[in-house]
Amino acid sequence: MQKIKKISLKQIIEGFRKPEIVKAIADVLNDEAEKYSGELHIMEVCGGHTHIIAKYGLSQLMPKNIHFIHGPGCPVCIMPKERVDHAVILAEKEDTILVTLGDMMRVPGSKRSLQESRSHGADVRFVYSPLDTLKIAEENQNKKVIFFAIGFETTTPMTASLIQEVEKNNIKNILFHINHVTVPEPMEAVIQSKDSKIDAFIGPSHVSVIAGAKIYKPIVVTYKKPVVISGFEPVDIMQSTLMILKQFNEKRCKLEIEYSRGVSVEGNLKAQEMIKDCFDIAEKFRWRGIGDIPKSSLKLKEKYDYLNAEKIYDLPYEAIDDHKSCRCGDILMGKALPPECKVFGKACTPERPMGACMVSEEGACAAYYRYGRGLG
């Protein structure tokens, strides 16, 4: 039998962060960029990528004619205030426990965040895995436990498996408030928006592990924008940028997978099956900073109406916008960078965010605030 050699986490991580490798790719990138006469605007869709670009200062290694546009891919940043308010309203109901993922705690609604609600006495808990909700419900039989579900395609299957458990075991005290959104639709929305500068996309790998690379095909086919699916290490992002640049130099427009360690074209079919069983595509979702995008989110299937907190409780849906000086919309379109917003770092900080991009550390404004303020 072949012996499996043990490798440490350190070896794995360092392989993808090795300064020499990153620098070597940067050299190739610069040579390649000289062959390209125009400017290239690449949107990294996912907030995880935005964070890595800021943290490692990758823009500083980029050729002058390559620009990153920081995309809308952070599940809490895009949550409109009225939906955050739903979480707060539900959490503050009598005999209710609101369960959600940790990132949601600090997101400000129109009046307060869940964290503030909790300090006012509401029972709000965050879990690492949605299935942990089962235990909370079991221990609190006399209370309603509402799972406030957030996230892209990555977290949807976990919510689906919680729904299936609740149904199978006939659990009476768990309800759901669903805020699952999908990635390709906002990509289309930003391409279609007036004066959008986007030439190509770096696509998130973890979403693609589940949904498969196929979800980006329309972007490439219909809109003629290359997409490269990238992992989350500096080496991945550098390599993906190079792959995009090469496509332009070779006049190709393709869907390519840089992160071949985990992504396939079809994705995880079993997870996709589970999602189909539990959810339908909702007519539209209001994205904070962007506005209504048709067919960009999921809702519970009608057969689950009895589990659907949005059907059971009377919740307000009137749109609540961010402050009018907030330029998140422009940032997402590549028309402005965070420091160009006049309240950036002054009235708007991660502690007191005024707009979507400052909310979570994956938002563009938050990443600039944290790693780049004053570096120019």
Partner: protein
Amino acid sequence: MSKILLEHGTGAGKSAKLINDIFIKNLGNNILNQLEDASVFKAPQNMVMSTDSFTVKPIFFKGGDIGKLAIAGTCNDVAVMGAKPLYLSAAFIIEEGFLISDLEKIAISMKEELQKNQALIITGDTKVVPTGTADGIFINTTGVGEIVKPGISASAVKEDDVIIVSGTVGDHGSLIFASREGIDIKSELSSDCASLWPLIRKLVEEDIEIHSMRDATRGGLSAVLNEWAHQSNIGLYVHEEKIPLSDETRGICELLGFEPYHLACEGTFILAVKKEDAEKALEICKKDELGKNASVIGRAINEYNKKVILETGMGTKRVFETPSGLLLPRIC
């Protein structure tokens, strides 16, 4: 097994026995043993005083326990001011039902750590609270020390000063996080919790010109450097690859999504020394077991006022940010 009862805190019979059997037995000395309402001691001229409360969870961890931390933590705060720790007070808040054998273990750790600092506990207090109103045991210690190297301050970093860290950063914080998250660490990682005075004494005796010195506890390395930059009105430039990290801390941070530079150290300190003294200071550290991983990580510059700039291994620069808004559990 015997447990702490509410009566142990009443001041009468049982509590006198507890004080004798645990505290006097392990921590006793000429001053403490007099058991007066307040202790009498002679003070040299220039003193420092520091206080800290300890609520760490778990109470016993790899590399130490709350008792060791309560002595080392306060003595270190005194020592990094260039002062020799002399006398401490110790106050215990104990939850009813706490094991007496565990209390004794804690007292023994305290005794060992006091010896390293050649310091004494000269006054103390014990309170017992009903089950559910505290979490096991909380300890407060206050320490006083005699200044032997005056002028050390967070606002005294000067241009060209060299920044040295005495060892790996983030080990205490990452160990505590990992054990809370139930991550089974099959590795050598233990908390770096240690008394700094023995090494600091050597630096002082060799007359190293130390401008600033801090133990990197809460907020870790980045909090200390940012505070210095602010208070000293200066820029600090740090090379990321030079910051010593243990493989274990790096791995845990990767798993849990933390920055090692934000995590607490309990046995690592940071120095800003005059450029000309840097080499000697590094050598003194490296010769000592506690400082064997010491490293020069950066310098103070006349640019980027009040900011700390981190140069990554890739040659890019970014702001060396302070931790913000984390839901930090109790680590000390």
